[in-house]
Amino acid sequence: MSGQPIAIHRAPVVSADDALAHVARLRAGLAAARKRPVARTMEILHEASVRLADRQARAPLADHLAYVIHHGTDLIQEEMEIIAALLTKSSLRDSVRAELGEYHGLDDWDRVGQILLRRQAHGILLHNLAGNALIVSPHSLALGLLTKHVNLVKASSDEPWFAASFAALLYEIEPELRNELIVCSWPGEDKAIYDAIIPEIDAVLHWGGEESRRSIAHLAAEYDVSLISHGPKLSFGILQTVLSADLHFVAKNLARDIVLWEQRACASPRFIAVLPGAGVGADDIAQALALALACAEQRWAAGASDRGRGARQAARRQRYMIELELDGLGRVLEAGRASTVIHTRVFPPAHAIDDALDRLIWVVELPSAGELLRCLDAMGSNISRLFQVAVHHGVDDSILDAIAARGMARMEHPGRSSQPAPGASHDGFHDLALLTTLHTRSAAAIHAPSDRRET
């Protein structure tokens, strides 16, 4: 089958009645899902990963998605590589081991010390997908399948293609999955559908918008449905002591973190804090990052179908040039045509961090680690629930514990923000654990005292 192009499918828009019919069909598939060994599910996902890793096979899908979400085709290709790597057998095996331990209990009772341990799926899982970071759909589906759920998937109305195409690829590999995985779509604001289906399902895995999370959370609480919510997140970088020998390597990796998903993913850094250290200064770092982003543009051009991009970029450059440079508060570096680095000593306000999209990055020079922590605290009392990834490079790791205490879920080396190692925290949790309930029974047989005497 290799070499065959991956077929492009669109998630059909469904009504509440359609969605309920899907739920009924999925419930019938639950027994088969529970019976399938985790190793077999890993094989299915691995085979899908092999297909996705085949550049030729994925080319039509990549071109199509590039047009839909306005990423350049080369960038989509890179993003597909990341997705394929996530779904390999070894990556999945390592994830299960790291998140659930050596004896995961997904297939049978596993003995751990004095107990036998078993994990069970909640049952019918609704995946509420959102956003244009493609990785979310296969990642979410893999979590549902590995934990032996049957899965109703609500694809994002903005991008109803990838989840549906990925599901179709899985059906090709294992036709039984048609009864265990259904992808469809409805407008996120259509509350009636949530009202209809949430009482009928067992768990929700929610990604993306705050508004849909709230409406789902209310219903989930009312009907006692488990809700695992990955709301919108904020990521940033921290550099301490970048040696000049490392500068370009670090800058190149940061540029990749920024460019991936056009900086709209939860793991995309929006500002880089530069703390004092023995290495090169913030000015050199900003220059090197601008150069690296300009180079990245050669490799991963911005999508040509985004007709508003040039004006948005120019408006942001103009705004911050006037705002910062007139008063000597910073400098705007035009990094190639598509990217912008803004070097400043003033911690960016909320609207400026919101502007860090489409390859615009703030390089903020701060006098101390304490000042960074003060700025983070000043972002608001609720801000810690938004912190997702800190890409960090430096000799002093003490800052990492301080930001972990402030809610930061994952610390990574530059270049790895979108490629967490198996077992890395997603946003403070391990999904495989959250998606299962844990059941135990005592391992040792109970013997009567007379038995013991006889032995």
Partner: protein, 384 residues
Amino acid sequence: MRSGDLRLQGSAPVSPTFMADLRADTVMLAAQCPAVALLWRRAGFDPSRDLSTLADASRIPPILSASFKRSANLYLKLLRRPLGGIDTFTVSSSTSGDPSIIGRTQADIQAYASAFRRGFETCHGGAPFDRVFALWPDPDALLALDHGRVEGKPIAPFAANVFKTMGPVREPSHRDFLLCLRPGAPSEIDFDKIVDGLDGAQRRGERVLIGGTPIFVHMILTYLSERVGRRWVLGTNGYVLVGAGGWDGRKGTMDLGRGISRSAFIAQAVDIFGIPPEHVSDHYGFSESGLSFPGAFDGDDFSYAIPPQAHVVLRDPLTLDPFDEPEREGLVEVISPYGNSSHAATALLVDDLASFVPDTENRRLRIHGRAPSSHKSGCGAMLQ
């Protein structure tokens, strides 16, 4: 020459003194506005050195219309004179809730009012009308309202001064303001007045104007065709004038939920009012520049004449490189040394997409709508 002919001729060139005026204005602008001086210095542009021919005009680094938005908070830094010399801050009608705020003198306000009057006259001639059905609010009442203040200076809706020039009428009582503004609620159209008014105008053979934004005129047309079910024959005495945008179905607080087809709109206006198609005109303009681009329907779509006071550069939406090819879609940049004595809009890049109409020496435009302000959101958090 019939009043309609000029707008179809197509290629009125820039005024003879345009380049000399543009050079003088840009040199002055850099001296008056430190923000512009900074942007030009950063881009390596020096107007006294780099601006010789009209082809050089695209070398002027433009100010973006987005920079005049309230949210950008730069409108005071984009003034060309001390605050004491500013009379009024005009605000746009902003569908997004983030209006442009432009500091102007009374002379600037007069200049843009005149520019709009000239644009309207291009389409319907200078003679006053016998009767005007105005789907815009009474400008005097609008200007009398308190719109607040910026830095102690009064705020006025940009459009109010345009309304003043629309539909010059022989007898003021023969102008019916059919739009009732209701504070805190959607505007209402007084449909009843128009049926009787049209009957009388037709009977007396009066010179008539029906005007407003595309959405309001569209609502009138729908009402007359679906509810009243009648037609009139106003002939060459009848004119329809629309402007201020909203073809996508949205304007201010109005939202039709769908776009308005320009060709269907024209066909319906011609059918119901019994007027020649060339008597239906649209007008393109924006509050940051204060110029008016009269548009005539040429069988495909409206084609908008660039007034002699302006030069238009189109730029690639992605790279912002200027280009000359007709029919290619680009962002609109308007360059004009006139009417901008108080704010830095000599070279203004707006977020509308347009193309040059072929065989017009790039002096006519088709407008394709707003460039998308933001593409699909992701899972990155927005803090505001």
